[in-house]
Symmetry: C2
Subunit: 155 residues, 2 copies
DNA sequence: TATTGTTATACTCTATAACTATA
DNA sequence: TATAGTTATAGAGTATAACAATA
C-alpha cells in the first residue's frame, strides 16, 4: 500500500511503512504492551492504583508476611523504590509493615482488611483490561499467547 | 512448590507465588517485554543507539523524505520529543532535515549515507537480540507469537 | 563484614504548555 | 484560525551511592 512511495512523504494522511520493525518480535511485543498498559492504567485509575502498586498488592496477597527483600525480588523492583511504594500504600491503609522479632532488620508485609478488599476489586478491573486487550483472540489463542510469552521470560 | 506457604515468608531463598499475576496476559507481556528490551538495549549499546533512535532510523529508512508529523505518528512519540531525538541524530550525522519548499512549515527527514550504514548494522544487532529472546521458540512458534500480538495492537 | 531497609539523588521517558513561523 | 515544529519544563519510572540498624 505504501510501497514505492515517491521520495516525497508529504501526505500526512499516508501511513508510514513499518514493515522492517514489524518483522522484529521485540517491536510487536512493545506495541502490544503499550496497548494493554493503556487499558490497564485506565481501569486501575478507578482504584487510584499504579501498575507497580497493583503488583505489590497481588504478591503480598498471595504471600502474606513476605519480607521486603523477597518482595523486591519478585517484582524486579529496586529496594529503594519498593520502600517509597510501600510508604504510599501504607499511608493509604492498604498494607502494614511489621518488624520481625527474630531478625530485627527484616520487615514483614501484609494486606490490611481494606487492602484485601481493594485488591479484590482491582483484580477484577485487571481482568477487564485483559479481556479488552484480547477481544480479538479466542480462548485457545489467549492460552497459547501466555505459553509463548513465558518461554521468553522463564529461564 | 511455594503453595501453602506458612504465613511467615521469611526464607529469602524461597520464591514468591506469582500465580495471580501470571494469569493476566498483561503481566506476561510486560515480563517478556522487559527481557527482550534488556537484550535489545545490550545490542544497541554497541552502536550507541537507544530504542527510540533505532525506530526513527528504521521508519526513515523505509520512508525517505517523511515529514516529522508523520514520523511522530508512526512512532507514537510526542512531537517535542521527536525534535530532541532528531537533534541528536542530526548532530551525529545520521539523519538530515530539509525544509520543504512547498510548505515552509514542514521538514523532510532522510538518512545520510552514514545513517544508512549504521542502520544496516543496527538492524542485524536487533535481529540478534530477537533471536536470543526467542531461543526457546520454534520458527512456527515465533511466527504465531507475532500473529497473536498483532491481534492486540492492530485495530 | 554482610544484609535489610532507608534517604537522597540522578537519569531517562514521557507529557504538556507556550512559543515561532508559516499557512 | 489552524498546523509544523521548537523550547522549556514537569512528572513518572528506574537506578545508584551512602547511610543506619542489625546480624
Amino acid at each position: 500500500m505504501s510501497l514505492m512511495l515517491p521520495s516525497s512523504g508529504d501526505d500526512a494522511s499516508e501511513q508510514a511503512d513499518q514493515s522492517a520493525l514489524l518483522d522484529l518480535a521485540g517491536y510487536n511485543i512493545r506495541r502490544a504492551y503499550l496497548v494493554i498498559q493503556a487499558l490497564f492504567d485506565q481501569e486501575m485509575e478507578k482504584h487510584d492504583l499504579r501498575q507497580a502498586e497493583f503488583s505489590v498488592l497481588s504478591i503480598v496477597r498471595g504471600n502474606p508476611g513476605i519480607n521486603q527483600r523477597a518482595l523486591a525480588d519478585a517484582l524486579a523492583v529496586a529496594p529503594p523504590n519498593l520502600a517509597t511504594l510501600l510508604d504510599r500504600l501504607e499511608a493509604r491503609g492498604l498494607v502494614a509493615r511489621q518488624r520481625s522479632t527474630e531478625d530485627k532488620r527484616v520487615q514483614h508485609v501484609e494486606l490490611t482488611t481494606q487492602g484485601v478488599r481493594l485488591y479484590s476489586r482491582a483484580l477484577k478491573a485487571a481482568g477487564t483490561a485483559d479481556a479488552q486487550a484480547l477481544q480479538h483472540l479466542s480462548e485457545a489463542e489467549r492460552e497459547q499467547l501466555k505459553t509463548l510469552l513465558r518461554k521468553i521470560f522463564v529461564e
